[in-house]
């Protein structure tokens, strides 16, 4: 009986639109979760896919010695693809010319991600890069353009005991990274050829790079089992290890997506909560009537359990379909190679179903308990509402549901509990303000002289109900504003990182004698070069007179303070570089001062005033730390750990580096007037300045831009979902107060209040409520943004002054429109109809 009755009730209520709000709320929650899970998974793959191309693999183990074969066996066992690379420095000879190069010896299968880009035949003339099909053959070496320039494009090259054909010119290796300081050009060869060169001897400095790629689950399993086995000299690298220029962007985007999704879910849950309360209130009379006609408690429990389950399942069904449509829509916007990737549906579907069930039942639990406790006597005494259980129970269940859902989605208790605590805090804060309104509202009567007075009186009279509505309106606006601001700030930050015309070429090894002619050449061609940085290499040897030891020495058991094992690139500047931030002290003012990057300062354990001693060209130089800087490593700019004054570095020989932007058509302002095409210009530059090395980072910039575009898309998508959830909360909240409002309108109508007065008063009342909610929302949002920006996203904090006007005004307009729209039927009814309906 219960099933058929529940089905009948469900069917009828659905047809009559009475379940619209609760179904919409469940649908939105499920749609957000299932859609976002799938879209973000797809974008994640897209972003990581792009990002992993920067390291040519999904994961890398970087080791100074060969790793244990069991590690590779484990990778095989997990079905991971892997290749082994060696990297070392060596001299190469071409006739009587020689050059130090960085040798990359790679195994068949390299690169696991991305591709090697080669210059086409007569590349410089034709100017196109082509994707390499395979690797150098045996006895063949592929070389970077710089080497060709330095050695005059020889046919053969000697490396150790062997001779190699120089067959192809490399435009870019996928994992070359961004290192304009790389002093030696790279050559690529097969790992099998290394042995016969005889250059690797016991004790030679070699870096072994073990690159792995495969399914995320297998990679995670691999990471969990292998990472603990690595020693201090071995490094585990993934796209987020911080080396890659996109690591920061990916990390922030992930955090944002997760946070925004969680807030979106919290909002959708709030909408479900409000809708569930309304759903239960509407059934009070039905329950009283059923009890009067003798329905047992178990029958009623069963009936409404099934009814709510039907509502929930319907919402879940719609939500899953909506999620799939969302995914389909997003897919149209993605590049085909990413769109082709189809992540498994299991997780989004399971997440969607559990979200629907948990949110519907846990948020409805308390209203449902009250519903089931409705006494049958209500049929005679309509004001009876049965037992009043503590609000704490409702709160506990709601927060519990939110936490459970948050954890299911984010798999992070820390993040989930933070969001839940924030939501709780928000609720308490807003409720306190509501309480103040209630206190103010005591003993205020009903004044009917003008609409504004009537609205004010109404606002105070319904203070308790309005306080609850206020919490709903404000919470929706707070979350919306927070997500809006964060999205904008993240986009701006990335835009700053990669502004239009970000340098795509770096010039390094500029000899002091070449500086002026190069400058003239650039000016003549109309190219605007960016800052020129002198570069001097030196080693840090002492801190406050204490001699430093290397990592290797420390590992060998030697006691002492550990320094930096390699030579550093040092520069001088009289002003703080644009993308650096001064954290402590004053930027170099006296000759013997140095400015140190904050990360390295922390690692070395140094502070302002400490004395650092360097060895440069076999001479010692001691300087004092005058400032600590934060450096944005993710920017494609030359960044330095140590910046000196010009006077301090004056005795040492230096080369310089510069960067510039050049688009495909060449500079806009060329002397010839025809616009020298990009590649002709680069060729000209190489020919005129053969010792200057040119590094092309255009491809990397392009990839970064693509990642940022994809991330922006996901941010916008989340914003739209949060917007929808907010709108639903607003609508649900407006809906919640309709019954009381109806009775009041009936009374006012009966006593002769005109339609205009009632409409204006209703509009004013909602507008006031929306306006107050807007003000509260701005205050709380600014506070929330301060916390999020400083604690989570590492973004600059500033006040959003325009919001202080926009939020209250748009809150007032929005809520007033919603309220009047929702009340329009009531306002158009005759008082007879109103009184009848209000009974």
């Amino acid at each position: 009986m219960e099933l058929s009755l529940a089905w009948r009730l469900f069917k009828r209520e659905l047809q009559q639109g009475q379940l619209l709000l609760i179904i919409l709320a469940i649908t939105l929650a499920v749609l957000s979760v299932s859609g976002l899970a799938r879209v973000s998974e797809r974008l994640q793959v897209a972003i990581n896919g792009q990002a992993t191309q920067f390291i040519a693999a999904d994961r890398i183990i970087d080791s100074p010695v060969q790793i244990d074969s069991t590690i590779l066996a484990k990778a095989d066992e997990l079905g991971l693809k892997h290749v082994t690379n060696m990297q070392f420095n060596s001299m190469v000879y071409a006739g009587d010319q020689f050059q130090l190069v960085t040798v990359r010896a790679v195994e068949q299968g390299y690169p696991l991600k991305g591709h090697i880009e080669l210059k086409g035949d007569n590349a410089i003339d034709k100017g196109t890069d082509i994707k390499a099909d395979g690797l150098p053959k045996a006895n063949e070496i592929w070389f970077e353009s710089r080497l060709g320039g330095l050695l005059g494009y020889p046919k053969m090259l000697e490396l150790g005991n062997s001779e190699f054909n120089l067959s192809q010119e490399i435009s870019r290796l996928p994992d070359a990274g961004f290192n304009p300081f790389a002093s030696s050009p790279v050559v690529l060869m097969r790992i099998e050829d290394v042995a016969k060169t005889g250059v690797i001897q016991p004790g030679s400095r070699v870096t072994y790079l073990y690159q792995f790629a495969g399914e995320e689950a297998a990679l995670t399993a691999f990471e969990n089992s292998v990472k603990p086995l690595l020693n201090n000299s071995q490094r585990w690298v993934d796209v987020q290890s911080g080396d890659s220029p996109i690591a920061g962007a990916v990390k922030r985007a992930e955090r944002f997506l997760l946070l925004a999704s969680l807030l979106g879910i919290a909002l959708a849950c709030a909408a479900i909560g409000i809708a569930a309360q309304r759903y239960c209130q509407r059934h009070y009379d039905v329950v009283a009537m059923l009890k009067t006609f003798g329905a047992s408690s178990s029958q009623i429990r069963c009936l409404f359990g099934i009814h709510l389950l039907l509502v929930t399942l319907f919402g879940i069904g719609l939500g899953l379909m909506g999620g799939a449509l969302l995914d389909l829509g997003i897919n149209q916007l993605l590049p085909p190679e990413i769109a082709a990737y189809s992540p498994p549906l299991t997780r989004p579907i399971l997440l969607g179903i559990s979200t629907g069930l948990i949110s519907a039942f846990m948020f409805s639990a308390y209203p449902l308990m009250r519903l089931l406790a409705i006494p049958p006597l209500r049929v005679l005494q309509r004001q009876l509402e049965g037992l009043q259980l503590g609000m704490w129970l409702h709160l506990l269940l709601s927060l519990g549901a939110m936490a459970l859902l948050g954890y299911l989605y984010s798999q992070s208790w820390a993040l989930t509990l933070t969001v839940v605590a924030a939501v709780l805090l928000l609720g308490v804060l807003l409720s306190l303000l509501g309480f103040v309104m209630i206190r103010l509202g005591h003993s205020v009567g009903m004044k009917t002289t003008n609409p504004l007075q009537l609205a004010l009186a109404g606002l105070r009279r319904r203070a308790r109900q309005n306080a609850v509505q206020l919490v709903g309106f404000s919470a929706a606006l707070v979350l919306l504003l927070t997500i809006l601001a964060l999205r904008q700030d993240l986009l701006n930050e990335w835009q700053k990182q990669l502004p239009e015309n970000a340098p795509n070429y770096f010039l390094v090894n500029i000899a002091p004698d070449d500086a002026k002619p190069l400058n003239d050449f650039m000016a003549q061609k109309g190219i605007a070069a960016t800052d020129i940085y002198p570069v001097i290499r030196g080693r840090l040897t002492q801190i406050n007179g204490e001699t430093l030891i290397s990592n290797e020495q420390a590992e060998a058991g030697e006691k002492g303070r550990v320094g930096i094992s390699r030579e550093l690139n040092l520069t001088w500047r009289n002003t703080l570089p644009a993308n650096n931030e001064l954290l402590e002290g004053q930027f170099n003012q006296a000759a013997d001062e140095v400015s140190v990057e904050s990360g390295v300062a922390e690692r070395l354990g140094v502070k302002l005033g400490d004395k650092l001693t360097y060895v440069i060209d076999n001479q010692e130089l001691t300087v004092k730390i005058a400032s600590i800087r934060a450096v944005h490593w993710e920017t494609l700019q030359p960044n330095f750990f140590m910046i000196f004054t010009q006077e301090a570095l004056a005795p040492f020989a230096y080369t310089s580096m510069a960067s510039f932007y050049l688009d495909e058509k060449g500079p806009n302002n060329t002397v010839s007037g025809e616009g020298a095409p990009k590649n002709t210009l680069i060729l000209e530059l190489i020919q005129q300045f053969p010792t200057v090395s040119i590094i092309d980072v255009g491809a990397m910039v392009g990839q970064l831009r693509q990642i940022i575009e994809q991330v922006s898309l996901s941010l916008t998508l989340v914003l739209v979902l949060v917007l929808l959830a907010s709108a639903l909360v607003l609508i649900a909240q407006t809906e919640a107060g309709m019954a009381t409002r109806q009775r009041e309108l009936a009374v006012l109508r009966t006593f002769g209040a005109s339609g205009w007065l009632l409409r204006s008063a209703t509009g004013f009342e909602f507008a006031l409520l929306g306006g107050i909610a807007g003000v509260l929302a701005v205050i709380v949002a600014e506070f929330a943004l301060y916390l999020l920006k400083t604690q989570v996203f590492e973004l600059n904090v500033y006040m959003h002054w325009p919001w202080w006007a926009i939020a209250p005004v748009s809150g007032a307009l929005l809520v007033a429109l919603l309220g009047v729209w929702r009340c329009r039927q009531l306002l158009n009814q005759s008082c007879g109809e109103l009184l009848k309906a209000g009974n």
């Binding site: 009755l5 009730l9 009379d285 009067t292 049958p376 049929v379 005679l380």
Partner: protein, 249 residues
């Protein structure tokens, strides 16, 4: 308190009292109510607003619990019963008609009438409901929703619903209170006609003297006391014909 009740009593009340706690202290709504209603009898309870008519109705119909005294409904004492047992008793023996109709506004006329029959596990609920709606002249309105029906039609649906389970006792709370006089008369005719046909005991709470006069007995509630109306037969002495021990709950 007596624990025996007349064999042919539909309702028997002894020393009934109902008090509620208010901010000002305890308020007694009903005091020393004694009443015996025979099976098949129709009784009107009259009285001004706030006199306690509806409270009495709620107590007699096992919707509420008295502060003191005892009620026997069709021979069964109510005080030992818990809420579940009272619900079961209502399902078997009692039905209702309300001033505000109390139809489920999302269900059709037919579905509203079926509801009590389904709750009681009647097999052919639909056929019986169709027949009942036919009896009240609404065969053409089966699939209409309450809001698509006039007030009179809604009350006819409520009457059909009240009689579908052939109750022993029917409680009607101001059944014509929301209707105009023409519709009120029609509804009253229908109610008394069905009542007589099915030999149901009718307890009718009303303001309407005309309606009350159509009942066999008229009782007046005044300030928490129940009195037999002048001119009407003398109230039954509840202790006169105690013949049968009440069933133990």
């Amino acid at each position: 308190m007596s624990n025996v009740v007349s064999k042919n009593s539909a309702i028997n009340v002894v020393n009934l009292e109902k008090s509620v706690t208010t901010q000002e202290g305890s308020l007694t709504i009903l005091k020393g109510i004694n009443l015996d209603v025979k099976q098949g009898e129709s009784v009107a309870i009259l009285g001004p607003s706030g006199s306690g008519k509806s409270t009495l109705l709620g107590l007699l119909a096992a919707l509420d619990t008295p502060t003191a005294g005892e009620i026997w409904l069709d021979g069964e004492a109510l005080s030992p019963l818990n809420e579940e047992q009272k619900a079961a008793l209502r399902k078997q023996k009692v039905s209702f008609i309300f001033q505000s109709f109390m139809l489920v506004d999302t269900l059709t006329a037919l579905e509203n009438v079926m509801l009590p029959a389904e709750l009681a596990g009647v097999n052919n609920a639909k056929e019986k409901a169709e027949a009942m709606l036919g009896r009240v002249g609404l065969s053409h309105r089966l699939t209409h929703l309450p809001k698509q029906l006039s007030g009179g039609e809604q009350q006819r649906v409520a009457i059909a619903r009240a009689f579908i389970c052939e109750p022993k006792v029917l409680f009607a709370d101001e059944p014509t209170g929301n209707l105009d006089s023409v519709n009120g008369h029609k509804i009253a005719d229908m109610l008394f006609e069905l009542n007589q046909e099915s030999h149901t005991t009718l307890i009718l709470v009303t303001h309407d003297l005309q309606l009350a006069k159509r009942c066999q007995r008229q009782l007046v509630m005044d300030n928490g006391h129940l009195q037999e109306e002048l001119g009407a037969p003398q109230p039954h002495n509840v202790n006169d014909n105690l013949e049968l021990s009440a069933k133990e709950a």
